[in-house]
């Protein structure tokens, strides 16, 4: 389970090497110019400092910095009109009759068909065929990879059965299959368009950004209005969220194809179409597999949301368990979600690795036949079980073979939160820390942002955007900020922004600390990996209640949830960046007599600056994606507006708040994405 942006290894190297030329030799005492001189030599830093000064001074002078009221637009009325129109015309308008309803009926039938198929195959059939598919994807031989993949699949099915989650797991699996298929297809098509044409790429980039940053809660409501409740809306919401990574990576793969290979293909006289089919797409295969893998992970993270609008499965179990504060059941269902993620992740990445291996090393004819035979067997078994599955086994996992551990889990979590919450001697426990964090960090930050006049903040955004990125980044940031103001959401947005900044700081601190540790100590890395996987795939709803037990219903609770979700990506990117630092540079610093600390601070970290920045950027995006979840547990602000918009069925409240979150997201993304990083994937 890797993170969306993975700097290409080769490129990273060359950049690091280039950076090395500029840095003075890392070891030895620092005898560079003093801070003031350095500042004077660097007009950009000076500019940032000046604009910061403007912000502080103007905030102190004016005291309140709200967006002028006259400059807001009334967006509520048109949205309410749209809402009414949709409800009134659902059954009569041709847009619905000839287009949207077809989509929703088709989605419904296909998911129903898959559910029915899984049901009629029975538990034995599903386990057998699933294991066989995983084994075949891993290579269908006796190699470690194939056996491990098959074994994982078998284990996952058994554990889901034993935990009494079989039926829910099958429902989720059915929805996931349809969702993954649809998002992979859509993603590949969009990626193809973006990969082949620069204009498409430029057009689609902001679309992808919006699709990923827009909280699903905000578009669930319009989807509900258009497609009705249940499977169709859930499916489409999932596809909207999961298609972008597939599209991005497909496009990246098409663009980074070896020019020599393409040249060769052209000189052999192939037509563009042939070249696409025989050279470009095959060369992009690795990235596309990674995209598929990412799409699957994204789909799974929507499981609980899908249950909010009436689809069944594991998400439903979790959501229902929360109502009675039954953490045990929620955790069990969450475990099943994590296991499905593990299953799908391992299977697709094994398939990807095998494709790579075949492409480089080739394969024997015998192996090819064996593989064809195995796939044939899978198909035959599929047919047999689908037709006669009930003969061999019940559709559900036998009850005698289940274990109920929900109560034990419940009391274990309870014990843990009680003792950590306020029982730690001397240090006081998490409740006190959270209060301190709110009082000394969040409250000043929020009142500071609220006191800053909008024009001063705009100036700061523009300057930072221009310095970190390009003038275009600055302009984008400004437009986003203005949009927030025009929608009349300035104050709430500043509240959210203060929480995002607080969450981001924590995430970056935690992420860098563990990232450095993981990069330098092999054992930590190995211990962390499964923990990080779980943190990323465990549905956030599961840990919301324990978090409240730890720190109370407050903004800190939301921030902790965000850190849990966002830190893994930062840890991974940091560790990866540090590990790929040019070995020669490391060796050189060692031979110059640098200590471990000096080596880390003066060689490794500066050289890995690029990937650290990518880490920060990912942190921003992920923390922001948790704003709505934070709204569920006391975060308030924009997140709460979005939740209330959905749960009251109020389009004119939820959608603007969602758009404001997207604006903040795009703004922060542009401010943290260095220009060179952007140039790289163009």
């Amino acid at each position: 389970m890797s993170t969306p942006t993975i700097p290409d290894k080769g490129e990273q190297r060359t950049q690091d090497a280039a950076a090395l030329d500029k840095t003075p030799s890392g070891a030895g005492p620092d005898d560079g110019p003093g801070p003031l001189q350095r500042l004077a030599a660097n007009p950009r830093a000076l500019l940032v400092l000046v604009s910061l000064l403007v912000v502080v001074v103007s905030a102190a002078v004016t005291g309140s910095g709200a967006w002028p009221r006259g400059w807001t637009l009334d967006i509520e009325t048109p949205l309410n009109d749209l809402d009414n129109w949709l409800v009134d015309n659902r059954e009569t308008s041709p847009i619905f009759l000839y287009f949207l309803l077809h989509i929703s009926n088709f989605a419904e039938t296909s998911v129903d068909a898959i559910t029915g198929l899984l049901e009629s195959m029975g538990w034995l059939g599903v386990t057998l065929v699933g294991t066989l598919i995983a084994w075949a994807a891993g290579g269908a031989d006796l190699s470690r990879r194939a056996l491990r993949t098959g074994g994982t699949a078998l284990g996952v099915f058994i554990v889901c059965g034993v935990l009494e989650m079989w039926e829910a797991t099958m429902e989720t699996l059915a929805l996931m299959t349809a969702a993954v298929f649809a998002s992979a297809l859509l993603g590949a098509l969009l990626g193809l368009a973006a990969g082949l044409s620069d204009r498409c790429e430029r057009l689609l980039r902001p679309v992808f950004d919006t699709m990923q940053v827009m909280p699903a809660f905000a578009y669930l409501l319009p989807l509900l209005l258009m497609f009705g409740i249940g499977v169709p809306s859930a499916l489409i919401a999932t596809v909207i969220y999961a298609a972008p990574p597939m599209a991005r990576l497909t496009s990246l793969g098409l663009r980074s194809a070896d020019p020599a290979a393409l040249e060769a293909s052209t000189s052999l006289g192939s037509t563009p179409w042939q070249r696409l089919r025989t050279a470009r797409v095959p060369l992009a295969r690795r990235q596309m597999m990674l995209g598929l893998n990412q799409a699957i992970m994204m789909c799974l993270s929507m499981v609980v949301l899908a249950s909010l609008i009436g689809s069944e499965g594991l998400g439903d179990e979790i959501y229902q368990a929360l109502g009675s504060l039954d953490i045990g059941t929620a955790l069990t269902a969450g475990t099943a979600v994590v296991l499905i993620a593990v299953l799908l992740d391992r299977t697709t990445s094994a398939a990807g690795e095998r494709l790579d291996a075949v492409a480089t090393a080739g394969t024997t004819r015998l192996m090819r036949r064996v593989r064809a035979g195995v796939w044939g067997l899978v198909l035959v078994l599929f047919g047999v079980f689908a037709a006669k599955g009930s003969v061999f086994s019940e559709s559900e996992w036998p009850e005698a073979w289940t274990v109920d551990i929900t109560r034990q889990l419940d009391s274990a979590v309870g014990w843990f939160t009680d003792h950590l919450g306020s029982g730690v001697p001397v240090l006081g426990g998490t409740v006190t820390w959270a209060q301190g964090f709110t009082e000394y960090m969040l409250n000043p930050l929020r009142s500071g942002l609220l006191a800053t006049p909008w024009w001063a903040l705009a100036l700061l955004v523009a300057v930072v955007g221009w310095i970190v990125g390009t003038w275009r980044a600055a302009a984008t940031g400004l437009v986003c900020l203005a949009l927030v103001g025009v929608m009349g959401l300035w104050e709430v947005s500043m509240d959210t922004l203060s929480q995002v900044i607080g969450g981001l700081l924590l995430t970056v601190v935690v992420g860098f600390a563990f990232g450095v540790l993981a990069a330098r100590v092999e054992r930590v890395d190995r211990l962390l990996r499964p923990v990080l996987d779980t943190m990323q795939t465990m549905p956030q709803f599961v840990y919301l209640i324990p978090v409240i037990a730890l720190v109370g219903l407050s903004r800190s609770a939301g921030i902790i949830a965000a850190v849990i979700y966002a830190a893994p990506a930062v840890i991974r990117i940091t560790a990866q960046g540090l590990r790929y630092v040019d070995a020669a540079a490391m060796e050189a610093s060692l031979s110059l007599g640098a200590t471990g600390k000096q080596q880390l601070l003066q060689v490794q970290l500066p050289l890995a600056r690029k990937s650290l920045l990518v880490g920060v950027n990912q942190g921003v995006v992920l923390v922001l994606s948790m704003v709505v979840i934070a709204g569920l547990i006391g975060g308030g602000a924009l997140g709460y507006d979005v939740v209330q918009g959905l749960s009251k069925g109020n389009l004119s409240q939820g959608l603007p708040a969602g758009i404001a979150i997207v604006c903040l997201g795009i703004m922060l993304d542009r401010l943290t994405q260095p220009a060179s990083a952007r140039r790289r994937d163009q």
Partner: protein, 319 residues
């Protein structure tokens, strides 16, 4: 040049496919209830009381009437859309939390009809824990509340008292109340019912003072003792608009709603749901078993059914 040609062909291809797929199909079916007539779908909001309703109804209908029942989890706004489209047949407990949708579907479109009262009475108000009210008896007087505001301060509310607001989907006008009675409190909403319950559980355990939006029926009332702060009496329409609201909450006869076609179908299932009516005490008993004792809903329902035959016999349609 070549990439342009590829692009053009790709675009042309997509265009052709989409035109084909559009022209190939006629008007789509608008209702999705077809083919599922044998199964009754209940919309089940996410709180435990609703779970108790659904569990008992499901168990009785399956055992006594031999009707297959599916309880689908959805909150009130979604449930009304589902009742309208026929994706759900009935909701057993509606708190009148979505007046806009209720008006649209029940009065204007007439696709949803009332199924009568549930019998359970909903009551919403402001509450403080008993251990605090015992020490400061006059805290239940709205006018004296400001005197105690400093006891309720938290890091979230700053120099004002912390008012724990309701989950977003619940009927509420607390912000207006706080403003219009000039209370020195800050309204801090809970994002979800579960979050509010957990927070109250935590504060109650630590014996901290708190002021919260709270309601009955609620399974946690079996575990904790709360005392109500008296709000001015509710008169019809006094809570709208919120900016001028000064009154408390109305005592709410919780109501059942049904899909019109289902209600008119005159089947045993429809009759049974119309007849279904029990008391707050009944519901709290089942809900308490589910949430407090962590019983499975079907087991808790079975326990209640065994002990209360005389109550549910009246719900069965006469043969």
């Amino acid at each position: 040049m070549n990439s342009k040609r590829i692009r053009n062909s790709v675009i042309a291809g997509i265009g052709v496919i989409s035109v084909l797929s559009l022209s190939a199909c006629g008007a789509a079916k608008t209702s999705s209830s077809g083919g599922k007539d044998d199964k009754v779908v209940l919309a089940e909001p996410s709180w435990v009381g609703a779970q108790a309703n659904a569990a008992v109804v499901k168990k009785l209908m399956e055992d006594e009437l031999d009707v297959k029942v599916e309880a689908k989890q959805m909150d009130e706004p979604v449930a009304f859309d589902a009742l309208n489209s026929g994706k759900a047949d009935a909701i057993l407990e509606d708190w009148h939390g979505v007046p806009k949708k209720e008006k649209k579907y029940v009065e204007e479109k007439k696709t949803v009809v009332s199924g009568g009262d549930l019998g359970v009475v909903g009551h919403i108000g402001w509450f403080v824990p008993k251990y605090y009210a015992d020490k400061h008896p006059d805290v239940t007087d709205l006018k004296k509340l400001n005197k105690y505001a400093k006891d309720f301060r938290t890091s979230e509310s700053g120099d004002k008292g912390h008012f724990i607001g309701a989950a977003p989907s619940y009927s509420q006008h607390d912000k207006g109340l706080i403003k219009n009675h000039k209370l020195d409190f800050k309204h801090i909403p809970s994002g979800a019912e579960a979050a509010q319950l957990k927070e109250i559980q935590r504060l109650y355990k630590a014996k901290k003072p708190f002021l919260t939006y709270w309601w009955e029926p609620q399974w946690m009332n079996n575990q904790i003792d709360m005392v109500e702060v008296k709000l001015p009496k509710h008169t019809p329409g006094c809570e709208t608009p919120e900016s001028e609201a000064k009154c408390g909450y109305e005592t709410n006869q919780l109501e059942k709603f049904m899909n019109k076609d289902f209600a008119d179908s005159d089947t045993d299932a429809a009759k049974f749901i119309k007849n279904f009516k029990w008391t707050t005490k009944d519901q709290n008993q089942v809900a308490g078993d589910i949430a407090g004792k962590k019983m499975k809903p079907e087991d808790a329902a079975e326990k209640w059914i065994k002990a209360n035959k005389s109550t549910w016999e009246k719900w069965l349609p006469k043969k």
